[in-house]
């Protein structure tokens, strides 16, 4: 099948304004991913096209992009899904929104990781470990409580689809709250209060307007909006 690929290009070393690169690709397999298409452009048409990617199967989180107006991982978005049965399809690829574009599809991830680090995204437990030298015990039910939020790969698809984040980039954003949730609801963790102080701040969970873009954008199918709601409830009740 044929794909008319339109890619938002930007290279500040060459010209100050972004532009659209247009590429007509024939003999595309419906099973090709958008990453395959971008690689085809980079490897056979224009080597200057720049993007981040690594694992190419949706677990490393490198290649979140805006594809036909919706955030997704380029490696997990197959042409078949966008073509919807048609034999030719237009696909538009842009960098994710709300972070500064550095070159083509590459954005500045530092503000995203600053928000991540702000929620103290690490296990805290100062109680002595079991005297028998073995693991701390945790029931399967307690473990299940935070399972969904352990899946996060920090791809930023959620945060950069969030209108509240677009409006004010000091909002920690859904990805950071997902990380906070993973620890707040872990029965072994003792950092509950410290972490709630951060996510309960002016730029914390109350910026969320329950728009659900984050949930729709998550390539790992995390129920992000639900996780944020649970953190809000923990804040109001003081309990998990």
């Amino acid at each position: 099948m044929q794909v008319k690929l339109r890619v938002r290009r930007f290279n500040p070393e060459k010209q100050p304004k972004p532009w659209w690169g247009e590429y007509t690709l024939d003999n595309v397999s419906p099973n090709d991913s958008v990453l395959d298409l971008l690689h085809r452009v980079k490897w056979t048409i224009d080597g200057t096209l720049s993007l981040r990617r690594s694992c190419a199967h949706g677990v490393c989180g490198s290649d979140a992009m805006r594809i036909n107006g919706v955030n997704a991982l380029a490696c997990k978005m197959l042409v078949a899904r966008l073509a919807d049965g048609r034999d030719s399809v237009k696909i538009q690829v842009e960098p994710i929104l709300g972070l500064r574009v550095l070159k083509d599809l590459i954005v500045d991830m530092e503000p995203f990781f600053d928000h991540y680090r702000a929620v103290l995204p690490y296990f805290m437990n100062n109680s002595p470990a079991p005297a028998n030298g073995r693991e701390r015990l945790q029931s399967p039910e307690d473990r299940a409580r935070f399972d969904d939020t352990t899946k996060c790969i920090l791809c930023a698809a959620c945060t950069t689809s969030c209108p509240s984040f677009w409006a004010n980039d000091r909002y920690v954003g859904p990805a950071a709250i997902v990380q906070a949730h993973r620890f707040i609801f872990d029965s072994r963790d003792e950092g509950f209060q410290e972490r709630l102080d951060v996510v309960g701040d002016t730029f914390g969970v109350w910026r969320c307007r329950t728009i659900f873009n984050c949930t729709n954008a998550c390539p790992r199918d995390i129920e992000v909006t639900k996780a944020i709601a649970e953190v809000k409830m923990a804040l109001t009740s003081g309990e998990v």
């Binding site: 200057t48 990781f113 473990r143």
Partner: protein, 594 residues
Amino acid sequence: MSIKIHTHAFDAIIVGAGGAGLMAALYASRGANVAVISKLYPTRSHTGAAQGGIGAALGNLEEDRWEWHAYDTVKGSDYLADQDAVDVLCREAVETVVELEHMGLPFDRTPEGKISQRRFGGHTNNETKKPVMRACHAADRTGHMILQTLYQQCIKNKVNFFDEYHVVDLIRVDNTVRGIVAVCLATGDFHVFHGKAVMFATGGWGRCWEVTSNAHSLTGDGAAICLRRGVPMEDMEFFQFHPTGIFKLGILITEGVRGEGGVLINGKGERFMEKYAPTIKDLASRDVVSRAIYLEIQAGNGVNGQNYVHLDVTPETVNKYLAEAGETRRLTAEMIEQKLPDIADFTRTYLGVDPVKEPMPIQPTAHYAMGGIPTDVDGCVILDAANTVLDGLYAAGETACVSVHGANRLGTNSLVDLVVFGRRAGVHMAHYCRQAELLPLPDNPAAGVMAEFERIRNGKGDAKAAALRTRMQKTMTDNVGVFRTAHLLQQAQDDLRELRQEYANIQIDDNGRQFNTDLLEAWELGCLLELAEVTALSAAAREESRGGHARDDFPQRDDEQWLKHTLCHKEGDQYRLDYKPVVIGRYQPQERVY
């Protein structure tokens, strides 16, 4: 155009931020000023793609002992692993997995709340010979949890990271190490990191092959840099083909699928592993299963006459075989969703196949380098058959060869290797940095590699990196795959020599500085080409079949001549092979039957 060179000084420099690099960073930073330098953001590292589990004889669900794990590892290695190192691996696996839990790693739990464990290929109760539940897991994303947990702990402990800095050279002066040279991806500037100790934890080079489970970034940078700086490569002929990659794509389908009861079925509907491994069948070692699949396909037993077989984990099929085997446990659709959620997601996304209802088309996929940078059990890099250490240089993880995997790695042991030897290397580095001096940098330490970059940038030839890479992957797949012969290996060497010559005339499109991934991909191709050549050369020399190295023309293992490790040195443009003895301990080599 002038290029800026920046200089930084640290005690220890760790290259790579996967499991081994992060574990080393946590330990080294307790006693030394450490920088972790990675071409990817740390959470993008390929440790995160590991699925099924990390092996440790915790005995949480049934009796197990670390010595059994050690025996299984040695047997799995086809007796090429160094048994003193294997003892360290399997003994320390137990405390290290507990330590990961104490760091917060969310393992799945048994009903009593302990770390849950499952069966995996080649892991057995040594007395009954039956599969044992040894793989500690967090669904089918155990590696993701390890990577996230270690990165989280590094943040907590304020480890210094240089993310998206691509290391391109090692600064070695005679037998001392002075630091590394890196390119900052965002600016294209060169950075010299001056230090007392350097560790490579840069992962494997599966991208030498066409069908691989490996990330695009796995281009063997650390190994190639060491090779160029006078470090030999050990046992490069042993590269693991994982039996169950998604057909054509190579995406890994964990052995945990078979651990949960999944079976391999050929085009005739036969469970063919019963022929090849009568005792543990589908849970035989990976080399054994990959060869069996290959032979079935060769015999015309592929599904629909194509080059794949089926991996069937549908409850109907699994329960039929469980009942036949007299087992009481049964598999349900809910258990598949719960224990193998990512696998289900992969096959639904990429194949449109629902593993709860249909079998998955699979073929062997290039997966893991057993060989690599030779080290001792503290991660210290060794230079020759006499085990001479190069002070201050370390390696750990897939890029290193301790050797604990020998000729074939057991499933789960890569994650064990990362954390056990990452930790030991980190401890040793901190100790080393306390007594070592910071030796001065040589003049223009970046000059050599900068010249190579300028050569690629200004190349006027007509060779494109992507086209050369495709040809390299094709010859490696056709000729240095599951089965090899002298003829095939000669073909590969001829092709690779030709590609090396064409690589000298490479040309790229991007002449900019910022995020010049065109330039860096071309440089990475140089690493892959060298490692491919060393692999083919080492494989051609080894005239026997052992573990992952199967020669049609030499089908038997030959302990008399070949119970030894290969060391391949680079001397100018030539390679020289040397050998060193295997450390044998409690287990004398025996015939390997599963």
